[in-house]
Every structure is written in structure tokens, then in C-alpha cells.
């Protein structure tokens, strides 16, 4: 598993030349060390452009480019890469390697990783030897019932409410539909006439509630087969017509 051409991180990834798992890294330094080891690079003389490109490609591929820790490292690498490109005079003595701080941190981190290995081994060895007084771990208890003070609850509710930017208040007024009344009215009209129009059904000043009630009553009666609805043309007034009552009705 080696990355192919230097500085061609994304392409390398797309061809699947190496695959890395997100969970196996405990942070950007860990990932960086992994890349360095993978390519057997000299940590004290890092090819920074190449490693920066690889790092960017990998975190993009793993979706880590949203994690701030990884982003910060990416930015740092790019900055060092840019600094390395700056021209410097030959024989310039006070030139400071822009990679120095990163190399120091990488070495330090590498040391920590080595200690981790040591601790792991020590813990594993210790875990094989048992002291006295072992008690089997208690089974997981169900979570205790919620206990809280009324004041705490109110305070918590207030905090939640305070987060709502501007409460949208909407007054809801109950206006009960009178479908039954409308039904009686339609039936009375049908008894009188065989056919009538939508307009005959409603008073001139009918409000939304009356209109809805009448409409629902019409639909219900049409469903029952008491009447039929017909609209001669688009947007034309609906014609309501009496149907012969069913035997069962």
C-alpha cells in the first residue's frame, strides 16, 4: 500500500491505491504519521507539498474536512507549503525552516504513540492477573425515574422558550361546521325542486363556514346517491339534481 505519484493525492485515492479508515486515527497528527510511514518518508525532511496534498485528499475522502481539528492541520500544512515556495537567498543563515514546528510536534506525538504501545502492553499483562474479591459486575439497571423540582422544570422550559427567536402567534378560533343543518336545507330544496344551482343553496352573504358546510353536505349526499352534481363547463355554477332514492336508503 503505497501512494503512487507524489503530489497526486486525489488521483491516488480514486484508484484505490490506499484505503484508510476513519476510526483508526485518533487525530490529525496520527493521520499525518500514518501517511509518512506509509510512504517511508523522512520525518525531519518532509516533502511538504506532497504530504499536504495527500492529507487534504484523505480528509476529503473520509469526510473529515468538516472536523475542525483536521481542518486546522490542513491549513497549517498549506501555509508551510506556501512558505517553502518563497525564494530565499543562497547562504542565508537566518532562514528558519517553516516545517520545524510541525516536525517537532510530529516527533513528540510519535513518542506519545510509542508510550501508548508500552502502556497497552503493561495494561494487558496486568489484566491477566486478578486480585482478590472479584464480584461479578451487576447487570445494567434500568434508568432511575426522573426526579426534578418544579422550579428546575420551569427554568428548563424557559431556557427552551427563550431560544425561539420570535414566537409565531396564531389565534385559532373554533368555528364549528354545521353539516347537518346544510344537509337538512339541501333535502328541503330537493323536495321542492328537481334541480337547482349552487347559488340557490347559499344566502348571498354566506361566510366561509356556511360555504364549507354546504359543500361537505353536498358531497356526502352525492356519495349517498341522494343527488348528483354536474358542472356544465369549467368554473360554471354547479348544478344539483335530485336522484331517484335508492331502495336501501
Amino acid at each position: 500500500m503505497t501512494a503512487a505519484t507524489p503530489g497526486r493525492g486525489p488521483q491516488t485515492l480514486e484508484t484505490g491505491a490506499f484505503v484508510v479508515e476513519l476510526d483508526q486515527f485518533s487525530g490529525p497528527l496520527d493521520l499525518l504519521l500514518h501517511l509518512i510511514r506509509e510512504d517511508e518518508l523522512d520525518i525531519t525532511d518532509l516533502p511538504i507539498a506532497r504530504i499536504a496534498d495527500q492529507f487534504l485528499a484523505v480528509i476529503h475522502d473520509l469526510g473529515l474536512d468538516r472536523a475542525s481539528d483536521y481542518l486546522e492541520m490542513a491549513a497549517r500544512l498549506l501555509r508551510i507549503k506556501a512558505q517553502m515556495l518563497l525564494p530565499r537567498r543562497i547562504g542565508e543563515d537566518d532562514w528558519e525552516d517553516p516545517r520545524a514546528e510541525l516536525v517537532r510536534r510530529l516527533l513528540e506525538y510519535q513518542q506519545i504513540r510509542e508510550l501508548v504501545g508500552w502502556l497497552q502492553a503493561a495494561a494487558a499483562e496486568r489484566a491477566e492477573r486478578f486480585g482478590r474479591g472479584f464480584e461479578a459486575p451487576a447487570p445494567d439497571l434500568p434508568p432511575p425515574p426522573l426526579e426534578l423540582q418544579l422550579n428546575d422544570l420551569l427554568a428548563a422550559a424557559e431556557r427552551v422558550v427563550a431560544l425561539i427567536p420570535e414566537p409565531m402567534l396564531h389565534r385559532v378560533v373554533p368555528r364549528p361546521l354545521d353539516v347537518e343543518g346544510a344537509t337538512r336545507r339541501i333535502e328541503a330544496l330537493l323536495a321542492e325542486r328537481e334541480e337547482f344551482g349552487w347559488a340557490d343553496l347559499l344566502d348571498p352573504g354566506a361566510g366561509i363556514v356556511e360555504i364549507l358546510s354546504a359543500f361537505l353536505a353536498l358531497l356526502e349526499l352525492a356519495k349517498r346517491g341522494t343527488l348528483s352534481l354536474r358542472q356544465p363547463a369549467a368554473f360554471a355554477p354547479v348544478v344539483i339534481r335530485r336522484e331517484s332514492p335508492r331502495e336501501t336508503a
Binding site: 508510550l115 497497552q120 495494561a123 486478578f130
Partner: protein
């Protein structure tokens, strides 16, 4: 075995935690700490050579009888004992940093690890492996953490001196330089 060694054996058998030399010395008002140390060595040798199933281990600044590693599997299978849960790499990194830099604040741990370590530190405190021992100077007087005897116990170390010396590692570093500000 000497009478003192037998007395220590009884005490160490009864205790379920490591007992320090100072604690063991209270068993017999006539016994000096040196005498206790001598008796401990005698006891350890007795349990080392005769082929016992348990051995006397020096752990976390004290002494404790532990079963021998070779019996871990059958004991665990029979559910007479249970290996503790392993620590995550993130937890071990954090422990390593705290062990060598203690007392140390969260920021320094974050800096070395390159990631936010707040949650890991909290868990380690919960497990009793580290504790707050001081507050640092500087902004907000940050909490400073140090390892606990429990830390030594889960690693089977007698003391912090049993940790590898940094210059023995393959990555030998100079003592930490003050962190450069970004």
C-alpha cells in the same frame, strides 16, 4: 517462613487491595519497616519458587496477591474473574501525556494530541485514573491533572518510576520546549 512473613501473608490474603509497607508495619508494633520489607521479600520468594497459583506483586506503591497470568483464561471462562475493559487509544494517549507531564492542563494535552481532549479527560477522571491536583497560573487558572494510584494499579506498576524513561524510547526528544503560540 518467619512469623512476621506469615502475619503479612494473612493480612495480604485478607485485603483486596495493595497494602503499603507503612500499613503492613502496623500489624506488629515491634516490626520496623525494614523488617517488613525483609519479610515481604521472604514471602515473595516463597510464592515465587514453590509453584503457587498466586504471586506477590508490588503494585501502586503497595503489595498484593495476584493470580498468575497463565490462569487468566480458565478463571475468566468460569466467571470467577473478569479482565477490565481495555482503554481506547485516545484514552491511552491522554494518560501517557498526563503521566509524563503531570500536573498538566487540558490545553497542553490538546496541543500534543492535536485534538480536543476534554471528553477523554472527563472519562479518565470518572474511571479514577486521573484527578485534579492543582490549578495552573494563567488565564482562568486551568485545572491541572495528575495520575492516581488506580492508574498504576491497572498497569501493574509499582510507581511512576517504573514507566519507561523518555530517553529510552526510540523517539528520544529534548525536554519539552515551551509551546509556540500560533
Amino acid at each position: 517462613m518467619s512469623p512476621l512473613a506469615k502475619l503479612l501473608e494473612a493480612a495480604l490474603f485478607a485485603a483486596s487491595r495493595p497494602l503499603t509497607v507503612v500499613e503492613l508495619a502496623t500489624l506488629d508494633p515491634e516490626a520496623s519497616e525494614d523488617a517488613v520489607r525483609g519479610a515481604l521479600a521472604e514471602l515473595r520468594a516463597a510464592f515465587g519458587e514453590d509453584g503457587h497459583g498466586v504471586e506477590l506483586a508490588e503494585i501502586a506503591g503497595g503489595w498484593q496477591f495476584l493470580t498468575r497470568a497463565e490462569y487468566a483464561e480458565p478463571l475468566e471462562r468460569a466467571q470467577f474473574a473478569l479482565r477490565p475493559r481495555r482503554l481506547s487509544p485516545a484514552a491511552l494517549e491522554t494518560l501517557a501525556i498526563i503521566a509524563y507531564r503531570q500536573p498538566v492542563g487540558r490545553l497542553e494535552v490538546d496541543e500534543i494530541r492535536g485534538v480536543d481532549s476534554g471528553a477523554v479527560i472527563e472519562k479518565l477522571v470518572e474511571r479514577g485514573l486521573i484527578e485534579v491536583t492543582a490549578r495552573g497560573e494563567g488565564l482562568g487558572r486551568p485545572l491541572l491533572y495528575a495520575t492516581t494510584p488506580q492508574f498504576l494499579e491497572i498497569l501493574g506498576l509499582g510507581g511512576l518510576g517504573d514507566l519507561p524513561r523518555l530517553d529510552e524510547l526510540s523517539v528520544a526528544l529534548q525536554p519539552p520546549t515551551p509551546a509556540e503560540s500560533e
